[in-house]
């Protein structure tokens, strides 16, 4: 039964990350992404996937996908029907799945994913063909099926042989963090031992045109928290995390890469697209995540900001961080990795949780890029260059349209 819940523990369960898979414009896989985030490499280029000649902005962080997908239980026909977003998700999932090396017999494994648009490019193609040549139905049914996030979830289940509860969270740009957070809560509350979770989104013409229409895209360089920032840059990618209870991980001798220690979520009802200028909901989520982790601002060794690079987001987030950190603000290094790989929308929170896991495990902090002169609202140090440092806790923020706010606390493995 999904409800009533079978609670396996009366006390909160500690939640381990035992597998990470990641795909960004820096490359496919942990090694290339760890190197890229650690050194602050950027990965933007003029968009090749669709026509941007009539847009204000022309560049984004596009992923170069490998020709072959990793070997799973999917057949070549199934693989051939997958869209770009589903392929990135599968690559990330396979990497996480292999690293976690979960035992057989996980038929009921839950899957929690975040996305804003699933396989939108196929939906766009359905619309183009339907508008221009409605009599030509060839391939249209397949486009309808495969553009929906449900299909990408089912493909993942078929690829790895599980069929548990599926949750697809679409809380705009906080979706990935919400997915990891909900998965964390299921394990923490003792409902389940393991959850496969993550986020994914591919660039699409509709979304690119949408952000451009709002004049939210940078026409120069994405520079989160810089005083002269002029907008965000879009990216694409996926990250998948294998989460399980400490008890389960320790019993099978699995390597614990990091611990998910806290999650906070709240709604900013100020405006559909603009954050409350004082960052009230952001403050609430950071405080809630830290409270659940049992820590205060002084314990946080690094904060991965949402930091899109838009004037409104960064000033509101800076205000929230300053209010949250209080006297500790000057001691909390902050950066936004969106200056390197762009804003990955529904994948952003999961990718940033994955990179925090890698950074905690590897003992480094990911720098931001492009900050020549920090916004005066930033009362905290902006991490502008590579730094090797072992810290105990990292905090990751994700905020989205609709006022979806989420924060995650990750802890170095014991």
């Amino acid at each position: 039964m999904l409800f009533p819940f079978q609670r396996r523990s009366e006390v909160p369960v500690r939640v381990a990350v035992t597998g990470v898979g990641i795909v960004t414009a820096l490359g496919c896989g942990r090694a290339v992404n760890a190197e890229g985030f650690r050194t602050g490499r950027t990965a933007f280029r003029e968009v090749r996937g669709f026509d941007v000649t009539r847009q204000r902005a022309r560049s984004a962080a596009e992923v170069d996908l490998p020709e072959r997908l990793p070997s799973t239980a999917l057949g070549s026909r199934q693989e051939g029907r997958m869209d770009r977003a589903g392929r990135m998700l599968l690559i990330a999932a396979e990497e996480a799945w292999s690293q976690a090396a979960w035992p057989e017999g996980l038929e009921g494994l839950p899957l929690v994913l975040g996305t804003t648009s699933g396989g939108m490019a196929l939906g766009e193609e359905f619309f183009r063909r339907s508008s221009r040549n409605p009599a030509m139905l060839r391939g249209q049914a397949s486009r309808v099926v495969h553009y929906q996030p449900q299909r990408q979830a089912l493909d993942l289940m078929a690829a790895f042989g599980f069929r548990g509860p599926t949750t697809l969270i679409a809380n705009a740009c906080a979706s990935g963090s919400n997915a990891v957070g909900e998965a964390f809560e299921w394990i923490r509350s003792g409902h389940v031992e393991r959850v496969l979770t993550g986020g994914y989104d591919a660039l699409s013409q509709l979304v690119f045109a949408g952000f451009d229409s709002l004049q939210a895209l940078s026409t120069t360089t994405c520079r989160p928290f810089d005083a002269a920032r002029d907008g965000l840059a879009l990216g694409e990618g996926a990250a998948v995390l294998a989460l399980e209870s400490f008890g389960s991980a320790q019993a099978r001798g699995a390597a614990i890469l990091a611990e998910v220690a806290g999650y906070g979520a709240a709604t900013d009802r100020h405006h559909l697209t603009q954050p409350h200028p004082a960052g009230d909901a952001a403050l609430a989520t950071m405080a809630a995540a830290c409270q659940q982790a049992g820590i205060g601002p002084a314990d946080v060794g690094y904060l991965n900001a949402h930091g899109t690079g838009t004037p409104l987001n960064d000033s509101a987030e800076a205000a929230a961080i300053t209010r949250w950190a209080g006297e500790s603000a000057a001691q909390v290094p902050v950066s936004s990795t969106k200056g390197c790989v762009g804003h990955l929308l529904g994948a952003a929170g999961a990718v940033e949780a994955a990179l925090c896991t890698m950074a905690l495990h590897g003992g480094w902090l990911p720098p931001g890029r492009g900050v020549a002169s920090p916004d005066p609202a930033c009362r905290f140090p902006i991490l502008a260059g590579p730094q090797d440092l072992r810290v105990e806790y990292m905090l990751s923020n994700s905020f989205g349209f609709g006022g979806a706010n989420a924060s995650l606390v990750l802890r170095r493995s014991p």
């Binding site: 999904l2 009539r54 449900q150 599926t166 809380n171 229409s213």
Partner: protein, 327 residues
């Protein structure tokens, strides 16, 4: 373990705005007629649309709702009916919105503009295209900053949403929770649907259920394990499994099982994401009207999974006086 109770329901459907016209339609005392949605080439597609509201609701003047699309109106209307409030404020109320297509009208309009010339595509439309826009508007109307998730899925999504809401309630994350499913019709959705189900209509509308841990007249007693369609969709097999897991009930409401006379889609059309909510409300209403002590809602979704939920009447003696009073 916390128990979870239903404290209110709301519906917007092709029968009209409210649970009562929905009940009348299911009882055969009301009919709906299909209307035609025009494609750009002039051809028409037949769908079951929500009729205009009998009067302009006060909440329609809320600043957030002036430019919003029908799916947001459907979301807010059903939620407010479930809350039983005309001038709403419900701080601390969690929101879980379940959609299949979401804001397809604005998405289609915006993308058509972007294809024509992205330099002039309207910035007014794009923000409304995100899946969670209706849930965000509802939070603004209710004045709540509590947990607010939007889930994408098929017709079964509403039942999965009930389980998530029960979890939030049980852990004290929210004091009460609205589970809402909502859709709006568009020619793009109708055309896509026609590729798979010729001769059947898609419908638009919404459903909402207000859940609390305090005793109420109807209790949510079980939600089955999901039966994913990863190895193909098999409604007959899923129906047997769901029934076996939930046990016998006095009343059954279903969606997506061909040939079932109690299927809500036979009267309402396929409400996509809203259909799961309609099925649950139909089961709850059978209990509320005294037709059943126990009822189940079984849903076979189009492209994700099958799920079932079970409800039971709470004896009046178990209720506080206020909850025992008729709605």
């Amino acid at each position: 373990m916390s128990r979870v109770f239903v404290h209110g329901c709301g519906v917007v459907s092709p029968a009209g705005w409210g649970v009562e016209p929905f009940n009348e339609l299911l009882a055969g005392r009301r009919d709906v007629t299909a209307s035609r949605l025009e494609r750009p080439d002039g051809r028409a597609l037949s769908v079951l649309r929500v009729p205009p509201p009998p009067a302009r609701f006060p909440w329609m003047g809320h600043p957030r709702l002036r430019r919003s699309s029908p799916v947001s109106h459907h979301t807010v209307a059903a939620a407010l009916e479930a809350l039983g409030q005309a001038a709403p404020q419900a701080p601390g109320t969690g929101i879980l919105l379940c959609v299949h297509g979401g804001s397809v009208q604005y998405s289609r309009r915006f993308f058509a503009e972007a294809l024509a010339d992205p330099a002039t595509a309207s910035p007014m439309l794009f923000p409304e295209t995100v899946f969670n826009a209706p849930a965000s508007h509802l939070a603004a109307v209710l004045g709540t900053e509590a947990r607010n998730d939007t889930h994408v899925g098929d017709q079964s999504g509403f039942l999965a949403g009930l389980a998530v809401a029960a979890d939030w309630l049980g852990r004290g994350i929210v004091g009460s929770c609205l589970v809402v499913s909502a859709e709006e019709a568009d020619w793009t959705t109708a055309e896509a649907y026609r590729l798979f189900s010729r001769g059947r209509h898609i419908a638009e509308g919404s459903a909402a259920i207000l859940l609390r841990t305090e005793p109420g007249p109807v209790e949510l007693t079980a939600i089955t394990d999901p039966l994913p369609h990863s190895a193909g969709r098999d409604p007959e097999r899923d129906f047997r499994r769901l029934q076996a897991e939930l046990g016998p009930v006095d009343h059954l409401a279903t969606h997506g099982f061909p040939g079932r006379s109690e299927g809500v889609e036979s009267r309402l059309g396929d409400g996509l994401g809203a259909a799961g909510g309609w099925t649950c409300v139909s089961a709850i209403e059978a209990i509320r009207k005294g037709q059943a002590e126990t009822a189940a809602a079984l849903v076979c979704g189009a492209n994700l999974q099958s799920l079932g939920a079970r409800f039971r009447r709470v004896p009046v003696g178990d209720l506080p006086l206020q909850a025992a009073a008729p709605r």
